[in-house]
Symmetry: C2
Subunit: 319 residues, 2 copies
């Protein structure tokens, strides 16, 4: 086990890939390994990139990764698809161009799926971030597709949230669900070589200006137009990312976000553990057998049954 | 409180609407009211309708509702949008035509949003189903938009799952995520007056034929082409729904699904209650103050902290 921790800390790609798989599969040893890596992590900066399917997130992420690489930062890419049961080998969208990056030793790319359990994903994602962090990645690009609450859940682990859209389809802004607009730090209108980019950018800016209670010191999300095809705006987008990163550090918000992220990781995992524990007890303890039977046969309503069981749960050192 | 229970049982629409709002807002009284309605529910048949945005689910649901109304069944419609923080007045897609139905006393229509919490929704939806059931609705049409795990979670409360798609956009089948295809009982290619409907239907049938381990007694999901515009296939779709309903009853699967649904409702609500309880204890009990602080400051990794707290949780009658 020491060997694996050591290998991850040295940036061994195979060890990292194996440990992330263990985390995804909830292998019991994974928990301890991640714990031991914990004190070596906490330095990476996480940039979340999200938006509806088809807006060109993957190509844009490649450009962002290249920009950071050019200035010497090491980069990890974590592509999370909450709607896919697949992971590891599975690819989000057209990843072929991104594959070119993987020959660059400074970049590590990994896809993660939900394996049918969102709860599992919200535990595996922070663990995977810690692992990439501990392996020495300074910048972690966390990609996810827009799909409701799961998207927001994943983006909560990012320090900067980049929301990508594109022109042409009239309902793109409508497609950006309210929950994600509120947590976006930078907006990007990608594929700006297509007609209508200015209009979408204007709509986004108008929407942002309608925000109330904005203080002078608050971060004002910029709207950047980019095109991977013509390279327009890529430099500007990179600079906006650096600006927000600097703002997060100087304003104290980075530290605050770190604290919240750690707290969330704790409660998410605690809930998972306690729920498994209670389920196990209910199924094993014969005193609860009658209760479960009455519920399943429709004789006892779930609400009343919950009142009864919840009153018997206690937390505290054993007497 | 007796008054409200009585009114709901009598089918009073205002009382029903108020109780569903109470359930959504997690008002403490709601729990008891739903419990008292419990023994009056369990008769309604729940048909789930899902699919990507824009395939015409709402218009199709109106047609299905009309078909059931024509044969004298009372109908409740519950439109759930897991990605929307809105509910009540909020409408999923173009609901204007559906509004016409609401003048029919035999139909009750209600929209529900997630209010930012999927967990909340998975409790509010079964409660709302019980309320519509107790008010006397024989058929409940449960609509949701395709959006990953939340869609599957909502559809788990249905006895029959109808998956709606449409021709033309080449990636429609791809857009139907794996998790939902597996639980669909009937497939519908809507807007079949458009070009390409036969092709999509053929693709779906081919996909269904590739299923392995199908027993002779298993339900084979039919693929029905419909058009609300030309009325083509509406009758056929209605008959497929009736056939699946009859199959569910005769095969014993309905009873099995009911049992599972009750069990799920119990565990979902139990988890919610226990998690709230533990969070409260952790914040209030001074013994845990240091633990939370160490987690938030990054001195203690969440995994180790969870091990410690989980070992102090117990379930059982107090000594």
């Amino acid at each position: 086990m020491d060997g694996m921790v050591q290998k991850v800390l040295e940036g061994n790609v195979r060890a990292v890939a194996r440990l992330i798989s263990m985390v995804e599969n909830r292998r019991p040893e994974a928990r301890q390994l991640v714990s031991r890596l914990y004190k070596h992590s906490g330095r990476a900066y996480v940039i979340g990139i999200t938006g509806p399917p088809g807006v060109g997130k993957s190509s844009l992420i490649m450009e962002i990764a290249l920009s950071f690489r050019r200035e010497g930062s090491s980069v990890g890419i974590l592509a999370v698809d909450p709607t896919s049961p697949f992971s590891g080998g599975a690819l989000l969208g057209d990843r072929t161009r991104m594959q070119n990056l993987s020959t660059d030793k400074g970049v590590f790319i990994r896809s993660m799926g939900s394996r049918g359990s969102l709860g599992g994903l919200t535990m595996a994602v922070p663990d995977a971030i810690h692992i990439l962090d501990a392996m020495g990645k300074e910048i972690i690009l966390l990609e996810t597709v827009g799909s409701g609450q799961a998207e927001v859940d994943v983006m909560n682990f990012a320090h900067t949230v980049l929301l990508v859209t594109m022109p042409r389809t009239g309902d793109q802004i409508q497609a950006l669900k309210a929950g994600i607009i509120e947590i976006a730090d930078i907006f990007c209108v990608n594929k700006c070589d297509l007609d209508g980019a200015d209009l979408v950018a204007l709509e986004l800016e108008t929407m942002l200006q309608m925000k109330e209670d904005v203080k002078a010191t608050d971060w004002v999300p910029p709207v950047v137009k980019t095109s991977v095809k013509t390279s327009e705006g890529i430099r500007e987008l990179y600079e906006a990312l650096l600006r927000h990163k600097a703002y997060m550090a100087s304003s104290g918000l980075l530290e605050e976000k770190q604290r919240k992220r750690r707290e969330k990781a704790f409660f998410d995992y605690l809930e998972f553990r306690i729920n498994s524990l209670v389920r196990e007890r209910l199924r094993e303890d014969s005193r609860y057998g009658g209760l479960l039977k009455a519920i399943m046969e429709g004789q006892l309503d779930p609400g009343t049954a919950v009142d009864r069981v919840a009153s018997e749960v206690s937390l505290g050192p054993r007497a």
